[in-house]
């Protein structure tokens, strides 16, 4: 775990190099932000998503400890996103969020990150 945070920070530092406007599928691209309990220390998260026409493929914290999505769905009616993933240790992660400010290059996903049976707040911004 000692290497985890520096690795994430390194990835985050490189992200601006790849940042660009994106006008297609609104989830495509790299998102970064934080999750945690309100008022407590937050945990960095990087989420990468790509729409292939039928499935939203994605992964959390790409790198040595990548967590792949097991399922993901977007409801265009209200722009709500539901993601399920599982860590290598078998711990489930569930993300429920609302896509906001869709017309912005730096649109956001705001909602919850549930892991270890605990629901946390989550904010991700598209790079």
């Amino acid at each position: 775990m000692h290497l985890f945070k520096p690795l994430v920070l390194a990835l985050v530092a490189l992200l601006p190099l790849a940042a660009s406007a994106q006008e297609g599928y609104p989830l495509d691209g790299t998102w970064r932000g934080e999750w945690g309990q309100a008022g407590a220390e937050q945990t960095l998260a990087v989420v990468v998503m790509e729409w292939d026409g039928t499935t939203i493929n994605g992964r959390i914290n790409p790198g040595r400890n990548t967590i792949n999505f097991t399922s993901a769905s977007l409801n265009p009616g209200d722009w709500t996103l539901h993601i399920e993933a599982q860590t290598r240790e078998g711990e489930p992660i569930v993300i429920d969020a609302v896509l906001e400010d869709i017309g912005s290059y730096h649109r956001t996903l705001t909602g919850t990150w549930t892991s270890g049976g605990v629901e946390n707040q989550l904010v991700l911004t598209r790079e």
Partner: protein, 291 residues
């Protein structure tokens, strides 16, 4: 280019008129003469448009005859709309009735929702507002118009347009294969290869990025977009443009949009795009000026 050099020799209005006349009458592939009775009947109905200009070898000419001034503009439609569908919209692609949105194209759920979102917001997020290129077929519906220059020495066609960021694209005519999209950087105009189907220029393009709106009105696309465009100069004054949109990540099936454009005498007005500011007013060129 050769055309530019030739145009320098023609500097008077009278010469322009003469050359236009030659363009209407000359060319090895002109249609056979019609009988006097047929001609009378045609003239009674409407003035006959001048014939499609051609090079000496019969190839259709999409740009000016030497000494002529003109460009393509006045699109009959202002947004991509599936052929055969009629909906009301303004020249920016804003629907008169947003409930018509689903008629415009065979959207997937997400792309229809995004199209409606953009429409409902008055197209305020349109990337052309910050001088992002009106790429894809959109530059062929730009009110400022465009030209199609055939560089027959280098086997290329250039499309120069006056609107947006006043950009250009090029179409390879040398028979090369489409690129492997895993090996090339996606771009605003993609990679275009052209060929001839009779008198129609057929252009297949792929390798687009998704950093722009490929139509007025905010229709979405993804990097999976492939276009097949067909340019037909029906007569001297009319260009028929047809495009097949194939983007399986955005639309449920390939679909076709089609519109016509008019040959407009004169030159494309000069305009500039500056981020955060509206387009500068076009600067009118003197009618008789020659590039």
């Amino acid at each position: 280019m050769r055309e530019f050099t030739m145009q320098k020799f023609t500097t008077t209005v009278s010469a322009l008129g003469l050359l236009l006349l030659l363009g209407a009458c000359g060319g090895s592939d002109d249609p056979a003469p019609v009988s006097a009775a047929e001609a009378d009947a045609t003239e009674a109905a409407e003035p006959a448009a001048a014939a499609t200009p051609r090079y000496d070898d019969g190839t259709v000419r999409f740009d000016r005859m030497p000494g002529e001034l003109g460009y393509w503009a006045n699109p009959s439609q202002h947004s991509l709309i599936e052929k055969g569908v009629t909906v009301q919209m303004d020249d920016k692609g804003m629907l008169a009735n947003i409930d018509d949105a689903s008629k415009v194209a065979p959207f997937m759920d997400w792309s229809l929702a995004l199209y409606r979102y953009r429409q409902a917001n008055g197209l305020k997020d349109d990337p052309v507002n910050v001088c992002i290129s009106p790429a894809g077929p959109r530059h062929l519906q730009d009110p400022m118009g465009f030209r199609i220059l055939q560089d027959r020495n280098l086997d290329r066609v250039y499309v120069l347009f006056g609107g947006g960021n006043r950009n250009w694209r090029h179409i390879n005519m040398d028979g090369r294969a489409a690129p492997n999209l895993d090996e090339v950087q996606s771009t605003f105009f993609g990679y275009s290869n052209g060929s001839w189907d009779g008198d129609t220029l057929v252009v297949e393009s792929s390798g687009f990025n998704d950093r722009f709106w490929f139509s007025n009105g905010g229709l979405p696309h993804t990097p999976a977009l492939k276009l097949t465009e067909r340019f037909t100069r029906q007569d001297h004054d009319t260009l028929v443009y047809s495009v097949t949109i194939d983007d399986p990540r955005t639309y449920t099936r390939p679909w076709v949009a089609e519109w016509t454009l008019d040959w407009v005498p004169g030159d494309i007005d000069e305009s500039f795009c500056e981020k955060g500011r509206p387009l500068a007013a076009p600067v009118q060129q003197p009618a008789a000026s020659v590039q």
